[in-house]
């Protein structure tokens, strides 16, 4: 790299002041003297320091990353099963907007003629999905993590603000917390959907022994429809989730792997000046409303 390039970049950082000081001084890691001097200068100029904040406990991270492949395989084997009677569609009368699924879809992913394998995988992995989900819920209950997760009476209003902000229709940034209102609603919903999948699954797996459940869920055929619709729901959740994780950036993603986030703290007041945070202090913005 050219000698002038890092200097130019530093100038850019100082000018625009977009990134934290560390991003700038990192550029000079190979130049001890310049790097250190700049670092000091930057620290003096900037009124905040980077600190680590714990975000996701180890257990939650495990549950999350175990669930991802297991739910994927449940959906995959579920499609092997669904292929054998693929009657669902979006539409009315004779008009079909979307057929689940077009033949080309089955062929592209080799989903056809695998009912027996699909059922065997489904009825093995259901235990992993169930146990992982159960442990997650128990952990969330007993660790107090549910406080950050469950929606409050402010969540719905905030979810609208977040949505408008994300769509670029609102300028004001929604309050920054571990989970904002939209996240609280989305994550709580997806857990309830998991429960729904387990219950509808049981209702169509053992419709006589759990006949009361099957009847409660609208009968054998309707329970199967719900079971399928919930699966479509996971796929939509997944698309949105990935888009939001990409959007939220590295700091947020790393927290689901390593557990912490880097935040910028004002050394005088210890106030978090930038970065998403798990700090209880940040929750005050919400409860004060």
């Amino acid at each position: 790299m050219e000698r002038g390039a890092p200097l130019g970049r530093l100038f850019f950082y100082c000018l625009v002041c977009k990134a934290g000081p560390e991003a700038a001084s990192d550029e000079f890691e190979g130049w001890p003297v310049v790097g250190c001097t700049l670092r000091l200068l930057i620290f003096a100029a900037a009124s905040f320091m980077k600190q680590l904040v714990e975000k996701h406990p180890l257990a939650i991270r495990w549950f999350h990353w175990v669930n991802f492949p297991v739910l994927s395989l449940m959906i995959w084997s579920g499609m092997w099963i669904y292929w054998a009677n693929d009657v669902y569609r979006l539409g009315w009368g004779k008009t079909t907007l979307l057929k689940f699924f077009p033949n080309s879809f089955y062929q592209a992913f080799h989903l056809d003629h695998k009912l027996a394998q699909g059922m065997s995988w489904h009825f093995v992995l259901m235990w992993v999905f169930f146990l992982n989900g159960l442990l997650y819920v128990l952990y969330t209950l007993f660790s107090g993590e549910w406080r950050a997760l469950l929606p409050t009476r402010h969540s719905f209003k905030e979810a609208i603000q977040v949505t408008l902000f994300d769509l670029g229709l609102r300028k004001q940034h929604p309050p920054v917390r571990k989970f904002n209102g939209a996240q609280q609603i989305a994550y709580t919903s997806v857990i309830l959907m998991g429960l729904g999948s387990l219950l509808t699954g049981l209702a169509i797996y053992k419709p006589v022994q759990f006949g009361w459940l099957t009847q409660l869920l609208g009968g054998y055929e309707f329970a199967r429809i719900i079971h399928f619709a919930l699966t479509i729901g996971y796929v939509l959740f997944f698309v949105l989730h990935i888009a939001q994780v990409v959007r939220a950036g590295w700091n947020n993603f790393r927290a689901m792997v390593a557990g912490f986030e880097v935040v910028e703290v004002n050394p005088a007041t210890h106030e978090v000046t930038a970065g998403p945070t798990a700090l209880p202090a940040a929750d005050a913005s919400l409860s004060a409303k």
Partner: protein, 277 residues
């Protein structure tokens, strides 16, 4: 995803000095590295487990570990099973004619007059023969239940026939000592399994005794108010809303009792042997 000593939250606690940034960032790097390597290793371990699973020898069409879990599921639901739990019944007007989904075991011509139901007594090699009229002397049970295909569709059908349990109470062939079968109070020498086959032996199913003695398990001779047609299993077929349609064997030839699970046509092709509801 390795966890290190948790760092105390810096804010909300103004007494505690902030940690130097260099130290914080070094720790961030170290923890990131360890966590990502941990996650990668966990992923690799998962892949290795997956490869191990699918490379296991197959047992009846699926890798043995999967078969073991299916069998464990079957035992679990067997333990939960209660013969007082009934499949829901529907208004008779909702009954429809089910689609014919296979003719394995039905391909040869059958002379209804010459047909006999042959039952092998438990623990003996002798076969006892019964005519359709013999079956029809038992109380006629009618029920409108859902026929659930393992493919995922279901259809309401009106069935009529004799309870297998009534048949085995009148003809005590399922117990070694020749005791009449009593679903409420099964005798200790009752056979644990029933195997049913078509006359040509090309289609065969196995049932656990609890399902066989369930009040909704019928030796069925009428469908939707009409005698069975050949493609629906004339003269006598098995109907049990406790199992998927694959167990509703058409054109019963022989019934036998066994200590171990009898062979089952679809279980050999990778399906759950129990396939129970």
């Amino acid at each position: 995803m390795t966890e290190e000593t948790p760092v105390p939250a810096p804010a909300g606690n103004p007494q505690e000095p902030l940690r130097p940034e260099a130290e914080v960032l070094a720790e961030a790097r170290r923890r990131s590295r360890r966590s990502f390597i941990g996650l990668g290793l966990a992923g690799l371990a998962g892949l290795a487990g997956w490869n191990w699973l699918i490379s296991q020898p197959t047992e009846q069409g699926i890798p043995r570990p999967l078969r073991k879990v299916l069998d464990a599921n079957g035992r679990l639901s067997g333990a939960y099973f209660k013969e007082t739990r009934l499949a829901p019944e529907f208004a008779r007007s909702r009954a429809r004619r089910p689609r014919v989904n296979g003719d394995v075991g039905l391909e040869s011509e059958l002379d209804p007059a010459a047909w006999r139901l042959r039952v092998q007594a438990y623990g003996s090699n002798t076969l006892q023969e019964f005519t359709l009229a013999d079956v029809q002397t038992l109380p006629k049970i009618e029920m409108t239940t859902e026929l659930k295909c393992i493919e995922g569709w279901s259809i309401v059908v009106h069935w009529a026939g004799a309870r297998l349990s009534d048949f085995l109470a009148k003809h005590p062939l399922a117990s070694r000592a020749g005791r009449p079968a009593d679903p409420q109070n099964p005798s200790a020498d009752l056979a644990p399994y029933v195997g049913i086959e078509t006359p040509d032996g090309l289609y065969y199913v196995g049932l656990d005794m609890a399902s066989a003695l369930h009040p909704q398990t019928l030796l069925c001779y009428e469908m939707n108010g009409q005698p069975l047609t050949p493609e629906h299993g004339a003269p006598l077929r098995l109907v049990t809303p406790l199992k998927y349609g694959i167990k509703h064997l058409k054109r019963i030839g022989t019934i036998a009792f066994a200590d171990a699970r009898p062979r089952d046509y679809w279980a050999e092709l990778g399906y759950d042997w129990d396939s129970g509801h």
